[in-house]
Amino acid sequence: MRNIWIICRKELGSYFASPVAYILLIMFGLIFGFFFWNALGSFVFESIQSQMSGRSFPMNLNEWIIRPLLSNVSVIGLFFIPMITMRLFAEEKRTGTIELLATSPVRDIEIILGKWLASVILYACLLLFTALNFAFLFKYGTPDWKPLLVGYLGLLLQAGALLAIGTFISTLTKNQIIAGAVTFGVCLLLWVLEWVSGYETATWARVLAYMSVITHFESFGKGVVDSKDAVFYVTVIFLGLFFTARSMESLRWRS
């Protein structure tokens, strides 16, 4: 436990000692800020229109703003996750510091968990920016906070799964760009897999759609914790970290 924390602290230190973390935070803040502003604008426009036409308008902030924005965050996350994980192992392999970690009295799994945890914490910091925006909704309206919390839980689980995959990919190469590009490709594929369910209902299509990380977020976005979806994410996290461990082991046998 102590070793995991030591590694995690060191990784967070490197994120925040270099411009990486700040650039990610700023970009994410800007992009999400625009999404939020947009969503709010259209919400206000719609509600004024419906008042003028005399139609009754369901003024639900959760339905109209929080839920779509949360699924936006899950998509924006796909673009940021490769940038978070690409350096985790690739850089240590390139500079040779992996030898320091691998010859210290710590287990491989402790190194892996520490690094993965640091990446999850950095992602959580990105989510904090979205929370700042949502705070305005609570000041001027009365949205339900429980679905929002469930949504955040879903986002963290989904990101944890993708980050675990990214961590694994980062052990495969010395080149950060390659690690980042491959992770991005895999994330994107896992996102669009569910499209097949639009025109095909055969078993293979349903399996593919099941593997899509986005479909499992829907229930969380609605504020419902579906154990089926939670189990999916936890399984992917477990598999990702398991393959990372295998990859680190094979690194020793091969190199």
Partner: protein, 339 residues
């Protein structure tokens, strides 16, 4: 933590250690032992398998066959116990450029299991010991090569390990830094058992007590520095400096005279100046010629300024042992050392 089952006097025991890759055998059935508190030089041309052997000793690479024990613990069976007792400096110091020196040493110390006041004490101690106190707050990425190497050494000794494994600790340093690093290593020898690899021979002659020579993954020789020099020498060889009393000296006459001495097999004129000359006199195997040579010179009316045994430099020993493959190695400074 279990107590070390170490009862023998050997800190490192390597038996038939082998590392095979798909096509090549990097290390081929190497066996050696290192006694506690010794400095051992691990010598070989580039690509001889030095780094691979060291990586197996540090549990970074698992051996294909054979065993290696450090402080009584097997590298395959109890890697954590081995790692606790080893300090390792890879060929390039494993530093994080974005960290400050003290921050880095604290991180490594924690990683090796230190904490609290003990950690702070050790960080201060190794900073003083490795002369890096003045760059404690500087970022590692901004340090010069010499400082980085010393920070690398500092991280290797931070947890006061029984065994220090240093892979080419002086590579890429300037001569002044090389001397400082060698002195530092010699200084550390009292507390730790040290294995250092190098392809520079004088380094071994200057810093090590024991040499392990490997070539193409195979063990070529393992002995003390002095024995190795003697072994390759075989016959006795002495250097004599002769001076003429009257202010002039004819080297060819001296050479003739020396060649006539019983037991002398070869005389070489190594140097000549005004009224003095240096000769290397080689004896036949098993005969001792020093006395006769001295007498012959004095009786011929010359002065004998100096007479000392010519030790063969390790360079020559090395070339003899490893054969002609080393001829195209990057040149290493050749120095003739007298013992």
């Amino acid at each position: 933590m279990r107590n070390s089952p170490l009862t023998a006097k050997f800190m490192i025991t390597v038996k038939q250690l082998t590392k095979r890759y798909a096509r090549t055998t990097a290390v081929d059935e190497i066996s050696f032992e290192v006694a506690k508190g010794q400095i051992v030089g691990f010598l070989g041309p580039n690509g001889a398998g030095k780094t691979t052997t060291m990586r197996m000793l540090t549990c970074f690479l698992p051996p294909s066959s054979g065993t290696a024990k450090v402080a009584g613990f097997d590298v395959l069976e109890q890697p954590l116990e081995v790692k606790k007792r080893i300090g390792y400096l890879p060929e390039t110091p494993p530093i994080y450029p974005e960290m400050a020196t003290s921050e880095y040493l604290q991180f490594v110390g924690k990683l090796k299991g230190l904490s609290g006041s003990e950690l702070a004490k050790r960080v201060d101690y190794v900073c003083g010991r490795c002369a890096i106190s003045d760059v404690k707050t500087k970022l590692l990425g901004k340090l010069s090569k010499g400082y980085r190497q010393r920070v690398g050494l500092a991280q290797a000794v931070i947890h006061n390990p029984d065994v220090l494994i240093l892979d080419e600790p002086t590579a890429g340093l300037d001569p002044k830094q090389i001397n400082e690093t060698r002195d530092l290593i010699k200084d550390l020898a009292g507390e730790h058992t040290i294995i250092l690899s190098t392809h520079i021979l004088p380094e071994v002659e200057q810093t090590c007590e024991q040499v392990i020579i490997i070539n193409k993954g195979k063990l070529v020789a393992t002995d003390s520095v002095r024995n190795l020099q003697a072994r390759a020498r075989g016959a006795e060889s002495v250097l004599v400096e002769v001076a003429g009393r009257s202010g002039s000296l004819e080297p060819s006459i001296v050479q003739n005279t020396l060649e006539q001495v019983a037991g002398v097999s070869r005389v070489l004129c190594k140097q000549q100046g005004d009224a003095r000359a240096v000769f290397e006199v080689e004896s036949k195997k098993g005969s001792f010629v020093r006395g006769d040579v001295a007498r012959a010179i004095v009786e011929s009316g010359w002065d004998l300024n100096e007479l000392r045994p010519a030790a063969m430099s390790l360079e020559e020993v090395f070339l003899q042992l490893t054969g002609s493959e080393t001829a195209d190695e990057p040149e290493t400074p050749v120095e003739v050392h007298a013992s």
